[in-house]
């Protein structure tokens, strides 16, 4: 694919803190990433790395307080998002950018039918007041919404779409619910789709089917996507580029192809080795846990768990830098100058 294409979404130096009684958790610590038009990127990292916070920031869904956006900016189609009012966000949500939630068991409202979900999103996305719409207009919108709901369900190859509309979430399987959640996010054909670990709660085989389906739809409609996963294998299957996140920072960024032919950051290497092997053995994985966001390490956040740590790693945090081969990595192993001093 072309090297520099047009950016649809750009996050620059984002920092997000969470204030609580125990102190300030410095969760997102300078994340930058970019999604080009028509591109699928993956955001990979262990649970608790700040992936959800990062993408929820894009939709203005991180509650402030407790969160504080202390630095950085997010731009979508050149427009800065962080200063938007709730009403302006509302216009973008669901249409410009939409999101697929992680858990199909909790992301659908239990007391509304699937049809009510889909038709409401079709009818009222971006609208302000639902009270002053005339009955006639509502009826027409509802009719169109129903037709569109059926169309999108058919596109997703869901059998008996009309019947599904009358069902309540509890009457559907997890896989079916996950598909409905995808349909909800796609009903207005957004420009950017954020998929936050869809189907992680489901059977592996069901999950695979859904991912294949999702990839097909996104390609068919020309939608860009940020795909979140803790599984590098899934990222490999679905995305053009990969961002590896650790403890609220991007530690490595590469095209999928180059990342899988060679990974640079010790954390990425650890993640790769934790993918289950073909012979059925579990990988080695990485010992230890993510550091406490309330008291993050002074130097590299990965220091405690790193197999190749050096003394100065605990003192100065590395910066994300572009290497001579165009790859980006945030690690002192690749910082010529620093290595030089100690060398």
């Amino acid at each position: 694919m072309s090297v520099k294409s047009e950016a649809l979404l750009e996050i620059k130096g984002l920092k997000v803190n969470f204030k609580s009684f125990e102190g300030t958790a410095q969760v997102i610590n300078g994340v930058s990433l970019k999604v080009n038009k028509g591109e699928v990127i993956s955001l990979v990292g262990e649970s608790g790395c700040g992936k959800s916070v990062t993408v929820r920031s894009i939709l203005g869904l991180v509650p402030t307080p407790p969160a504080q956006f202390t630095n950085g900016d997010i731009t979508f189609e050149g427009q800065s998002l962080l200063g938007l009012s709730e009403k302006e966000w509302q216009k973008i949500r669901g249409k410009g950018i939409s999101m697929i939630f992680q858990d199909p068991m909790t992301a659908l409202n239990p007391v509304f039918t699937i049809g009510q979900h889909l038709i409401d999103v079709y009818m009222w996305q971006g609208k302000r007041n639902t009270l002053f719409t005339s009955m006639k207009e509502k009826r027409e919108l509802r009719k169109k919404g129903r037709a569109r709901a059926i169309e999108i369900l058919e596109k997703m190859r869901i059998p008996d779409p009309e019947g599904i509309l009358e069902r309540y979430p509890i009457e559907l399987s997890g896989g079916m619910r996950q598909r409905i959640i995808i349909a909800l996010a796609l009903i207005h054909t957004p420009k950017l789709l954020i998929a936050d670990e869809p189907g992680t709660a489901l059977d592996v085989s069901v999950q695979d089917q859904i991912l294949i389906e999702l990839k097909r739809l996104v390609e068919m409609e020309g939608i860009s996507m940020i795909f979140i996963t803790h599984n590098l294998g899934v990222a490999r299957m679905i995305s053009d580029r990969v961002y590896v996140m650790y403890a609220g920072e991007v530690v490595e960024e590469a095209t999928t192809q180059s990342l899988f032919s060679q990974s640079y950051h010790p954390y990425t290497q650890g993640l790769l080795s934790s993918i289950p092997k073909l012979n059925g053995q579990m990988g080695d994985g990485i010992d230890g846990r993510i550091p406490d966001f309330l008291n993050p390490p002074q130097g590299c956040r990965f220091y405690d768990r790193c197999s190749e740590r050096m003394d100065h790693c605990s003192l100065t945090p590395p910066k994300l830098q572009t290497l001579s081969d165009g790859r980006k990595v945030s690690c002192h192993l690749f910082a010529e100058e620093v290595v030089g001093i100690h060398g």
């Binding site: 509302q90 216009k91 409202n109 007391v111 999103v121 302000r128």
Partner: protein, 333 residues
């Protein structure tokens, strides 16, 4: 749905049966000699025995219960010692007044409690929230009879806006015994206005505690909704805030509030006698209390049975509504 309703309806049969046995047994065990009370201090031993025989008090308890239930199904609940009439007739005359009072009080509680609860949740920790919560707390804490008397003093004596006692002189033709309904059915608007004026203060006095409870519960149920994934998801679809609050959150919150509404029905029945006493409301609750004072067994059993049935039916209705609002209930049972 039909299946669910039938199942729930069948559930109340054993409840009612148990209730009737329990109440009957309790009433026969209660201390105090109602015959002596009835016949006065001059009564001879023969008179007392004759009266006991006549009322079947010498039969074994199961026989007494059987006879009582047989009679009850034929509209005969035994003689009332207070009125010397069939208890069924007394209840038939007094029940509609209480029922009307309770229904209106319940309507007021829901109409005020739910919106206040929503506002309080949406404006959490703002002045709207604090003030509604203080009012609600007072509503629960203040004694009902005191509230009733204060309402009388303010609205009846000071401002002469509303009548103090009774259901009003102008009565509509009795059809259901619910005067508001009867006057509407017969298009008797004078009677309707009189009835409305008379029921306002007692129903408000009766509703206050329930309103406060419904408000508090709605508030906490709404706040509970705030951290649900599906609410975050609804926001991510770009739905309007008002719609998320009043449709997506409220339907869930109200379904949970419904349970307390069924239970409140019992509390309202229990509190009704205080309000009826203060407002001279000719209802069944007063009749029941009189029954207790006079050891009027038949009246006590009759009234308690009616209250028990009403309570069970109210909860049945609530259960069914709950099932309609929240489909998960049907699958749980």
């Amino acid at each position: 749905m039909k299946e669910f309703i039938i199942k729930r309806t069948l559930h109340i049969i054993p409840v009612l049966l148990g209730l009737s046995i329990l109440i009957f047994a309790l009433s026969r065990i209660m201390p105090g000699d109602s015959i002596r009370l009835k016949l006065g201090p001059e009564a001879t031993q023969q008179q007392i025995e004759a009266m006991e025989e006549e009322m079947g008090l010498n039969d074994p308890l199961p026989v007494q219960y059987w006879n009582y239930m047989k009679g009850a199904f034929q509209g005969d609940m035994g003689m009332s010692l207070q009125s010397n009439r069939n208890v069924a007739i007394d209840i038939f005359e007094t029940f509609p007044a209480t029922f009307e009072l309770i229904i209106i009080a319940m309507a007021i509680s829901i109409a005020i409690g739910v919106p206040l609860g929503v506002i309080s949740a949406v404006r959490k920790d703002k002045w709207e929230d604090h003030s509604t919560r203080i009012v609600a707390l007072s509503g629960i804490a203040l004694p009902k009879f005191w509230v009733a008397i204060m309402l009388q003093i303010v609205f009846a004596y000071w401002f002469s806006l509303l009548p103090v006692v009774g259901r009003g002189e102008i009565a509509p033709t009795t059809i259901t015994g619910l005067r508001l309904l009867d006057s509407l059915i017969t298009l008797n608007f004078d009677a309707f206005i009189t009835s409305v004026k008379h029921i306002i203060l007692p129903s408000i006095a009766l509703s206050i505690a329930t309103t406060a409870q419904i408000m508090r519960l709605t508030r906490s149920n709404m706040l509970n909704q705030l951290n649900k994934d599906y609410i975050l998801a609804a926001r991510s679809y770009g739905l309007p805030k008002g719609m998320i609050v009043y449709k997506y959150m409220l339907k869930n919150a109200f379904a949970s509030t419904l349970t307390i509404i069924g239970l409140s029905f019992g509390a309202l029945l229990g509190n009704a006698f205080l309000v009826e006493a203060v407002f001279g409301w000719p209802g069944m609750a007063q009749y029941g209390v009189q029954g207790v004072i006079y050891k009027d067994y038949n009246a006590i059993v009759g009234v308690t049975l009616v209250i028990g049935v009403a309570f069970a039916v109210a909860n049945l209705i609530v259960d069914v509504l709950y099932g309609i609002l929240d489909p998960r209930i049907k699958y749980d049972s």
